[in-house]
Amino acid sequence: MNNRSDHSAMNRQVIAEQQVLMRYLAGQLSDAEREAFEAHYVGHPQVLRELEVAAKLKLGLILLRDSGELVAPSRRHWQRGLAAAALLFVIVAVASWFATRTPAPPLLAASISALGESRQTPLLPADTYTIERTRSRGFDASVELPATSRTICLRVLPESLSATAYRLQLNAIAADAAPREIASVRLLRVDADGLVTVYASSERLQPGTYELILSGDSGRGAATQAVTSFLILIEPARAAVSSPK
């Protein structure tokens, strides 16, 4: 990335893969990379927000270190057992992204019928998952893909019910940077039980890590206030991962 075309080459994937956020804050980008990134975040408030949080995390660590509250642990040799399998998983997930480029039915929709509008045969429903924010270290929910193409019902619990309508955005997470939006649905209403329901097409989902962002949606333009984000693990169908005999 060292010429004028860098400005158009800077995107979320590049930012993620090349750890641009941290390298920018550390002053490790080349002049061309820095210019490209600055041109990018000026026009992308979400990237600026991610940069802001990363900078605050860095500042907090500096302050903790300076006050002697951050003790560097002694270096240990950690087990490396799962590295190869996890790396393979990453390769599969990334490759899967590139496999979903042909025009396709929507990934998310407010109803099963809307999800199957462009299909000759409607998708059959699969499992329903309730997604709520957890305090655990891991994912807020794990969703197992069905063995065949179906609709997956996601029922999401807002942390507050202050909005009359919601926007649900699905981001794919590849690496350390702003997540990449792959689908969104607007003007979703809250069900009687306080949950927001959306339907996902399993044929458009690939195993990997995703983020769901639930925002209040006024229906006027794109500006919405972030309400809750959920970290989701999409797992492959069990039949697909079992080894053949």
């Binding site: 490790q28 975040y41 026009g43 605050k56 500042l59 500096i62 302050l63 950690w78 270290r137």
Partner: protein
């Protein structure tokens, strides 16, 4: 530095160089980072411009900046303490504080790229949620620049 950045951004906006007004936050940030970078270069090149900090007792940060920094420090402490293992804390520390490359951290600690990404993402998300719940807005961001200068 921030004042200067805002003035420059406003001048650019009035002269039509900025384009959409929604870009002003990013634009001010970009200009401020450039000013900060130039300032740091000057300090590195001109040792005579440096002054011993203990000779500047009356030039400390404004109270508000100090307070914001203490709040950020407290929230980051919560995030760090919420990480499950010493290894997780070491990863975050080496990546954000020591500015080590991801590949090197993964190689030396035997961590997969996916686990690394998840940990870093989760730490940042936690801080983001804490900041939002405590009412931190983008305006507070500029106390960071004071902390890094």
């Amino acid at each position: 530095m921030l004042n200067e950045a805002i003035v420059i951004a406003l001048e650019h906006m009035r002269s039509g160089r900025l384009g959409e007004s929604e870009r002003i936050a990013g634009y001010v940030f970009k200009i401020t980072m450039n000013l900060l970078r130039n300032h740091q270069r000057n300090m590195n090149n001109r040792m005579d411009l440096r002054t011993a900090t203990d000779s500047l007792p009356s030039l400390g940060h404004p109270d508000e900046v100090d307070l914001d920094q203490q709040r950020i420090k407290q929230l980051v402490r919560v995030v760090i303490e919420s990480l499950g293992t010493a290894r997780d804390r070491e990863i975050v520390r080496r990546y954000y504080l020591d500015e080590e490359q991801k590949e090197r951290i993964c190689a030396t600690l035997g961590v997969s790229a996916l686990s690394f990404d998840k940990l870093i993402f989760r730490a940042r998300q936690r801080l983001k949620a804490l900041l939002e719940s405590r009412g931190f807005s983008r305006g507070d961001f500029f106390c960071i620049l004071a902390g890094m200068a």
